[in-house]
């Protein structure tokens, strides 16, 4: 049925592209997940302060980023950040160029998108903390920040680890959309390769397998981490 021809894979140029693309994908996914994690942590912490205006602002942020396509968000950041004013004059040529590279724009947009998901995940994690735990911490004289850092965050982050795994795999999958704004990641190089070789089906099948194995590896690893970090009595280990 299919005449699959993988002879192009022997070419070191294409091998180099695939490896470089995969590395960029991994870099983008991990960097954006890390920033998203921080945004989620502080967003959820801010929600626990119960300041009405902050709560409303965060909710708006979360809903906007959750309910619009990440592809459009990326295009929006890519095309508008440069027109709104983030430009600089290239000292060598004197031409006005955008300050942020495509990679930076993709990183910003993916981080905010993931951050919105993380806020939700952490919020439900903090909500599910038993009241007795926070009350015990308060009676032991922990300050608000200490209580969050020493008691709430460690337990809540374990409770919402499965949700975080989901978000991280989702980040990994969403990085493929950064190819649309010419970030040189795996999908982008895949396009380059099939433009060269016209072996579209072969390239796409290979890339699909690379993505599936990366994401499967990640979720397998995260399940292991969940198991190692599990507190007895909390989460699935209970």
């Amino acid at each position: 049925m299919f005449n699959l021809d993988y002879s192009w894979l022997a070419d070191p140029v294409y091998q180099g592209w695939l490896i470089r693309g995969t590395l960029t994908t991994i870099e983008l996914a991990f960097a954006s997940s890390a920033i998203a994690f921080v945004i989620g942590l502080f967003g959820a912490l801010a929600l626990t302060l119960r300041i009405a205006w902050l709560d409303a602002v965060i909710e708006l942020f979360v809903e906007v980023f959750r309910n619009t396509p990440p592809l459009l968000q990326m295009l929006f950041f890519y095309f508008t950040l440069s027109t709104v004013g983030l430009r600089m004059t290239d000292p060598a040529t004197g031409v006005s160029v955008p300050l942020l590279s495509a990679f930076a724009c993709a990183l910003i947009s993916l981080s905010l998108f993931g951050g919105a998901l993380c806020i939700e995940a952490f919020r439900s994690g903090l909500d599910s903390l038993p009241r007795a735990v926070t009350e015990a911490a308060r009676s032991l004289g922990y300050s608000r920040w200490q209580r969050f850092r020493r008691i709430e965050a460690p337990i809540a982050s374990r409770i919402c680890l499965p949700a975080l795994t989901n978000i991280m795999t989702n980040q990994f999958k969403t990085t493929s959309q950064a190819s649309v704004i010419t970030v040189p990641e795996l999908m982008y190089y895949a396009g380059q390769i099939y433009n060269d070789t016209f072996r579209t089906a072969e390239v796409m099948i290979l890339v699909l397998f690379i993505y599936v194995s990366l994401v499967s590896l990640l979720s397998w690893g995260m399940v292991r981490i969940e198991r190692v970090l599990a507190f007895p009595g909390y989460g699935k280990g209970a």
């Binding site: 299919f2 119960r50 009405a52 205006w53 709560d55 409303a56 602002v57 909710e59 708006l60 809903e63 906007v64 959750r66 309910n67 619009t68 396509p69 990440p70 592809l71 459009l72 968000q73 295009l75 929006f76 095309f79 508008t80 027109t83 709104v84 795999t169 990994f172 999958k173 969403t174 990085t175 493929s176 959309q177 190819s179 649309v180 999908m187 895949a190 099939y194 579209t200 089906a201 390239v203 796409m204 099948i205 890339v207 699909l208 993505y211 599936v212 994401v215 499967s216 979720s219």
Partner: protein, 270 residues
């Protein structure tokens, strides 16, 4: 209780304030030169919504995204139901491959799967000597339906397995046949838990239809890009905000409704 009420009230006031501030900001921007941008958007809005300058017939734009999401959801419902019950099957030969397929589809990026379908499905098929061309739209439907089906199946499995085992045992003790247990006892209960999940999935699918632009169909993003090629740089921002708002206006009510249903289902676990 009174405190919570005032807090929610306060929050609502702030939300109203934010909405007013946004409107004020847009109005201020409109008087300061942004008016032209909004005028351009307003002039192009029929094309963005329907793919057609006069607004009728519907030939593309956001309407095509909605239609695409409905087609893909219908196909995903069929595939996903088969896959979901395959994963619940007692027979390992059925269950294990179904799990494998589900995991494969769930772990692959939507965009990559869409691209793969675009290139793996041939341009036309010869059936009994008749050559039938496969339109890009059909490929987009299949490409989007596959990952949706996997998620659909997972929702079915999760909901059926969340039904307390006592229900199974009681039904068996009462002498129900396996099919009757599913049809009369388990599924009616599980369905209540599946519906919010399916609604969230549909919202996710609607968001993912933005990716279908890679297949070249005249969806809202393809239309947007065509339109932007004719506009100057300053106006681009207004067009993107409009496109983002279209998706938001479609998906946010769905998400709210799903959340409300989830809350109402939460209590009835047994």
């Amino acid at each position: 209780m009174a405190l919570i009420a005032t807090y929610a009230g306060k929050k609502r006031t702030v939300q109203l304030g934010i909405a007013l501030a946004l409107v004020a900001w847009v109005a201020l921007d409109a008087t300061g030169g942004g008016g032209e941008g909004w005028a351009r958007v307003w002039a192009r809005l029929p094309i963005l919504l329907t793919g057609n300058g006069s607004g009728w017939p519907l030939s593309g734009g956001f309407a095509l995204n909605v239609f695409l999401s409905l087609c893909a959801m219908a196909m995903a419902a069929l595939l996903g139901t088969a896959l979901g019950f395959g994963m619940l099957a007692k027979n390992r030969l059925v269950r294990v491959p179904c799990f494998f397929v589900m995991n494969f589809l769930r772990n692959s990026p939507w965009l990559v799967l869409l691209f793969a379908m675009l290139y793996i499905i041939p341009f036309n098929v010869r059936l009994f000597g008749v050559s039938i061309a496969i339109p890009a739209f059909a490929k987009a439907v299949i490409g989007l339906a596959l990952p949706t089906a996997a998620n659909f199946a997972e929702i079915i499995r999760g909901a059926v397995q969340s039904i307390h085992s006592g229900q199974w045992e009681a039904a068996r003790a009462l002498g129900y046949m396996p099919m009757a247990i599913y049809g009369r006892i388990i599924l009616p209960q599980a369905l209540r838990r599946m519906i919010p999940g399916w609604m969230n999935l549909y919202a996710l699918l609607m968001i993912a239809t933005s990716l279908a632009t890679v297949t070249g169909i005249q969806d809202v993003i393809t239309t947007l890009n065509t339109l932007l090629a004719m506009e100057n740089e300053r106006v681009i921002v207004y067009f993107y905000i409009t496109a983002l708002f279209l998706f938001f206006a479609f998906c946010y009510p769905l998400a709210l409704l799903a959340r409300r249903m989830e809350q109402s289902v939460k209590g009835d676990s047994l």
